[in-house]
Structure formats: C-alpha cells, structure tokens
Amino acid sequence: METRRCCALLWEEAVIYFTEIQNLPTYDVMGAYVGRVVDLGIDPNQNALRIAAYFVETREKKLVYVPREQMQSITVRSAQTSVTRAEIHSNKTFGDLLRVRKDVLDQQVIDVDHRKVVRVNDIDLEIQPTNGHTELRVLAVNVGLASAVRRLLQGLTAKHTSRKISSFIPSRTIPWEFVNLIEPDASRRLKLRISYERLARLHPADIADILEELSRDEQRSVIEALDHETAAQAISEIPTEKQAQLLQSIPVEKAADIVDEMAPDEAADVLQELPPETSAKLLADMETEGAQDVKDLLGFEENTAGALMTTHYVALDRAATVENVIEAMKGFEGSVESIHSVYLIDTEETLLGAVPLARILLAPARTPLQELSRGEVRSVRPETDAKAVIDLFRKYNLLSLPVVDDKQHLQGVVTADDVLDLVVGRR
C-alpha cells in the first residue's frame, strides 16, 4: 500500500511533460506572480541533458529569463523561483540556447534508434531536486498517440485528467540521446554542438533512407555535418536524380570531396545527371587521380557495360602469388567489400585470367595465381548492352565481370550490386 502511494506520487511529480510546463504560472520567492513559462533553453556546451534557463512571459508580454539556479520548485500546477521579481527582471538574456519549444516541439527529428524521421509531439522531463533548487532533465521526446491525445486536451481539461486519459493509450518515446536534431544553420549547429555522430554510425543505406525523408535544406544540413566518406556512401544509396539535386545544394568544395569518395562508376553516373558546368567544376575540384578515374567512365553510352563498370579493381601480374594479393588488397583504394575476384594481366594490361577470392583464401601463401586461375575468363566490351550483361550475370551466377577493349585490355569491372540496381530500376 505504502509503496503504491509512493509510486503514484513519483508518477505525478517526477516526470513532467513540456506541454504541461508550457504556460505554467510562475511565482517569485514572495509568492508574487511573475508570468507564464513559454519556453525552455538547453545549453549543450554546459550539459546537453539539463534545462539551463526558463523563458517566462510577463503580463505585459515581456520576455524574462530565469536561470536554472533561480528555480526553486516546479510542479504540474506552478513554478516558484528563489529570487524576487525585480531580480528576475534584471537577468540578462542568454546566448544562443537550444529552445525546446522552438527547436524541438513539432519539428522533425531523426530517431537514430529506429532509423527514421519523426515529428515530436511532446518532450518528457524529469524533475530533480538538487541542493536547494529544482532542475529539469530532458529524458525523451514523445512521438506516440498518447502525447498526441495530451496535446489535443491541453488546456481543455485539468492536467491530471489529460494524464489519466493518455495513460490508457500506448505511448512511444525516443530517449533523448537517440534524438538527432536537424539544424539547417551551420553556425548555430556548431554553437549548439549538434553532431551526427550517432547517425554516421548507421548503415549508409539507412542514412540514405533518412535523407530521403527530409526536405532539401535539412538534407543539406545533415550531409554537410557528416564526414566525406559517410556522406559519399549514403549518397551512393539514393536514386541518381536525387543525388544530383543534393550535390547541387551543397558548396562545390564539399560536393567535390564527396564525389571523390564515391566509387568511380557511381560518381560518373551522378556527374552525368548534373548540368555540364557543374560537373566540370566538380571535376576540377576533385583530386586528379579520382577525377581521371571518373573521366574515363564519362564517355560511355547509358545502359552499356561501360556505363556500369567501375575502374576500382585488383589486377596483378601473372607471376603474382597469394601473398601479393593480400598486399594489393591492403593498398586498395576503394571499398574492399566490392572485390570478388582478382584479375591477372600482362604488362600491356591484357586480361589473362581471373581468380575468385575464396580460392585465394584456401591456397598456401606462396601459390602463384596462375595455378588458381581457370582457363577462359568471361568478359564483355564496353559497348555491350546492359541487358546482355544482366543475362550473363544471371546465367553464370556471376559476382563480377571484367570489361575489355578490342585488344583484350582490361578497362573495368562490372559488379553484381550495380547489376541488381539496374534490374530493380534504381537508375
């Protein structure tokens, strides 16, 4: 019985929702009316989880500030400060703070945990008595039905009644640490320490899904805040025309860095989508080596093997051994996951053979690759129609297919993921 009462009390007073704090009447230490709470501020540079300041609107519509140390107590009914009204009026404004109502409530945020974009219905705060005054800690944002119902009832019924009603409805919250705010203004992002660290750890395909949910400015802000490599991987996962839109909305230098990090075939696809002058600018801004790789690919007709292939592959001299393969892989520029076979070439770059990685794994370190290579290698010309390429992949269950010119010189490699994209119509 005792414990239950205690729980009820806790439930009543330990967690408070932002919508309950909104318009909370505030009194000073003498009990004189100060005004109503209109917003809360968080100072991420001090403590990203703590409410640093209360924005109170007086009867005369003047905005005054109460720093957290001056807040004596907060309940669902009222707030009381530990100083007089005159002192509150003399408080200075704060620098740039993260504003709960302005920046979080009703805005879109990224739920890193569920890998999607959601709209915030409410914010859960915890009331913590701390040496003589009361602090609020941000626990979570509320996105579920319960908070929606609470918002609808706000001001129409007593707060306890709204709580009662909404307690019967399933509620969905996202812990504050999994919430990524989207701030289009770069300088403010820096000031408020909004980082996309957690987001950057997601799989690029998930980041791409999230990007597609956002409006253009929001996309730009996320892309600008990610490191080049993550951004490149994520952008590689979205449809080509949207890639072009995105790259056009960010500064050229940043775009060039991102395109540099993309696989050459992906980069070439994007550059072909962009207006010629923009592509030229990007190519000029890229590192020479990367730019050359991409330029080599730009000349090919759409829907041919040449347009599908990448110039990032591992090709070794026919005298090479298994050991050399491992060295070559270590020095490989692109993503190693895309390597399925190692190609054998002569000094003229003529394609002589191909060895699947799996067989290299099983062979002793000194084995020459030539022994592992199986007779004829299947290859196509750059001008081969994409449909024919797809058929070859399907028929022979290929993971990669080398592309050679009329003199059998290795030009590039088509990999299965590009073919799959083509089949399901992402390009």
Binding site: L105, D106, Q107, Q108, K116, V117, V118, R119, V120, N121, V143, A148, R151, L152, Q154, E213, S215, R216, D217, E218, E241, K242, Q245, Q248, S249
Partner: protein, 420 residues
C-alpha cells in the same frame, strides 16, 4: 545568332516540360463534376452574361496557387508540415479532421459525377463506380510519382472534349469573346448567387495541400522555380479556358432554346443532344467522366498527404505500401467509402453529406488562406522569395474576397438552392 537563341529556347522548353505538372493538374481538378455543373448552369441560365467572371477567377487562382507552389519549392516541405511547425499540433489536427470530412464528401460527389456521366452512355452505376474506384486506387498504389503524374497530365489533355463539343454547338463567337471583357450585373438574386457560386468554388483548401506536396515530391529545385510559376499560370489559364467553352456550349444551346432547368452535369450533356447532336453530347459526357476520375484520384491523395505530414508520418506516391502504410490506408479508405456511398445510398441521402462537406470547406478556407499568407511572408522560411508588397496586396484582397464569397455561398446553400 538565331540558332543560338533557338537552342537556348529549346533548352528552356525542355526544363519547363520537366517541371510542368503539379500546377496544371491542380488547376484542372478545379473543373471537377461539381465545377462543370456550375459552369453548365451558368451558361444555361444566363447565357454569355456571366463569362466576365472568368477573368477575376483566373487571377485569384493564379495568385493563390503561385504562392503555394513557391512555398513548396523554397522550403521543400508540404503545407501541412509548415502549419504544424508554425501553429502546433492541435490546430493542425482540427484542420486535419475538417479536411477528412470535407474530402470524403467531395470524393462522394466525384464518384456521383462518374456515375451520372457514364449514365449518358447507358452504363450502370453498379458496374462503373466500383470499376472506377479500383482503377483510381491501383494507379496510385502501384504507380511511381512520375508515372502517376503522366497519367494525370494525359487526363488534363482530355479536357479538349469541351472545346470540341462547344464548336459543335455553333455559338456566337464574337458575342461570347466580347462578354469575357464586359462585366455586367443583372438584378435579381439568382444572378448574384450564380456569381458567388462561380467564384466561390474556385479555390478549395485541399488544392493548396495537394499542390505544395506535389511540388515537394517532384523535387523541383529553386533554380527551376520560374518554370514552376509558369506551370501554375498555364494551368490556371487552361482551366478557365475550358470553363469558358463549357459556359459557351450551354449558352449557345440550352439558353438559346429557352430556359431549361438542368439537375446535374449529365443533364447538361443530354440537353445538348437535340441542339448540337450526338457527338457533342458524347464529348460533354466523356469530359465529365474524365474529370470525375481525375478528381476522385487527387482529392483522396491530397488528404492522405496532408494527414501524414501533419502527424509526421511518411507519405508519398514514391513510397512503397510498407514504408507509408497510413498514407495508403487513408487513400484506400477514402476511395472505398466514396465509391460505396454512391453505390449504396440513394441520391437524397448523398445530398446532406455533400452539403456538409461544402460547409466544412467553407469554414476551413479562411484559416488555410490566412495561414498561407502568413507563412509565405516569413523571412526565415522564404528568405528572398517572400511575398512582395504588391503581391501581398493582391493576395490579401483575393483572400478576403474569397472568404466573403465562401461565407455568402454557404449562407445561400441553406436558404436557397444554388449549384455547388
């Protein structure tokens, strides 16, 4: 030199064709069965005398739609998104409920239009309405945005049926064109009601939501905004040119042969038969069916966009059903209910629902217009693309007039039957 100019013109035309869509489609849906009926009755009862109202109607439509398209291009967000961020959850939610109610009524009237349009060809509503519903549903659920938009644009081309039908009616061209530029007012409340009906039904809340979401989903870039503007202007002009032909066709036949009461748009089509021949009737009815199908598709779509944006759920034709379940369920539900109502209910029972939806539309419109005006003046949202002073003046006048007319129309519907 000339060749250069030609090349640059070609390039511009190509960009325009790539951007074109949302504006033209949204404007054309304004000529839904209800709209067609309003124009028919205007021509049938008052001859050419009401044609002048098309000029202010076109201007009003352009002003409002341009504002919305601009907001979509600049912010990259739908109107519901913006309203939610600016005015909070409750306002958005109440609007959302209103929109749902209004659009359910609207959807019912679109399917009713489909049924009566096909009845001219002797088809049974019990077959046609479910068939139409499935067709419209499958298009959006199975299609991609690009494909769906192409189908909508083709549907807009089919409005050509009205000009052809009008030519068959041999109207007095000179008189009709002159009437467009000669405002006239006749005594009698019937005429005034008709003006209110014509102008008041031009701008509906759902249109703004559809247009902005479509612009966003299409991903039109800021650089292309100029073309988007032309998309809106061309769309509004085409729409009202079609309206002109509808009024003229009815004026040249039904009005000229002595006053005739017409109950609905299909009636107007049938009334053309003795005066302009079978072909004119068939074309008129075909236009009606096409209009009904197009708007039966777009109204539920606009609602689905709106509700999902407001609640922060995923939306868009490009999403798969699994990615945006609420979006597709809403769309499906509205179509199913709308079609079912037409098949099951008697006409007398549909009337109060359609009337209610008109009233809700009327109540919502002032809010939506004022929200739009305030949002498009916000510097932090729109930056350099804010409304100019001159534009604001025109827009406010438009909105105030629209709001007044809507209130009058609602009042009129309760005390007097005017076409809606």
């Amino acid at each position: 030199m000339d060749r250069k100019r030609l090349a640059s013109f070609r390039k511009r035309l190509l960009i325009f064709l790539a951007v074109v869509g949302p504006g033209i489609i949204t404007a054309n849906v304004d000529n839904d069965p209800g709209g067609i009926y309003t124009y028919s009755i205007a021509g049938a009862k008052f001859g050419y005398t009401l044609l002048w109202t098309l000029v202010p109607v076109t201007i009003a439509l352009i002003v409002v739609q341009e504002m919305v398209a601009r907001m979509g291009v600049v912010t990259g967000k739908g109107l519901a998104d913006l309203i939610r961020e600016e005015y909070g959850f409750r306002t958005t939610f109440i609007l959302m409920i209103c929109l749902l109610v209004a659009d359910l009524g609207n959807t019912i009237s679109e399917f009713a239009g489909l049924a009566s349009g096909m009845s001219v060809f002797g088809a049974s509503r019990y077959i046609i309405v479910p068939l139409g519903a499935v067709l419209v549903w499958a298009l959006v659920v199975k299609g991609t945005y690009r494909f769906v938009e192409k189908v909508f644009l083709v549907s807009c081309v089919f409005y050509i049926a009205y000009p052809i039908s009008c030519f068959l009616a041999h109207p007095a061209w000179k008189e009709s064109v002159e009437s467009v530029f000669r405002p006239s007012v006749q005594p009698g409340h019937g005429y005034l009601y008709m003006i209110v009906g014509l102008v008041g039904t031009t701008i509906a809340p759902w249109m703004q939501f559809y247009l902005q979401s479509a612009v966003v989903e299409k991903g039109i870039k800021l650089k292309e905004y100029v073309y988007s503007k032309w998309d809106v202007i061309v769309g509004c002009v085409i729409t009202d040119v079609v309206a002109f032909f509808i009024i003229v066709a009815c004026a040249a036949t039904i009005y000229a042969s002595g006053h005739r009461e017409i109950r609905d748009a299909a009636d107007a089509a049938l009334a053309l038969r003795p005066l302009a021949g079978h072909a004119a009737t068939a074309l008129f009815a075909f236009g009606l069916v096409n209009a009904a199908l197009l708007s039966a598709c777009i109204l539920p779509l606009a609602t689905a966009y709106y509700v999902c944006e407001g609640l922060g759920l995923e939306s868009g034709i490009n999403k798969r059903v699994g990615e945006a379940p609420t979006f597709y369920w809403l769309y499906t539900g509205l179509i199913a209910l709308g079609a079912l109502a037409v098949v099951v209910m008697r006409e007398q029972m549909q009337v109060p629902i359609i009337l209610l939806s008109q009233v809700v539309n009327g109540i919502m419109l002032p809010f939506v217009l004022i929200f739009m005006l305030r949002l498009s003046n916000r510097e932090d949202l729109m930056g350099a693309y804010r409304n100019t002073r001159a534009f604001n003046a025109v827009a406010w006048v438009t909105c105030v007039v629209m709001i007044l007319l809507t209130v009058l129309l609602m009042g009129a519907q309760f005390f007097h039957t005017v076409p809606a």
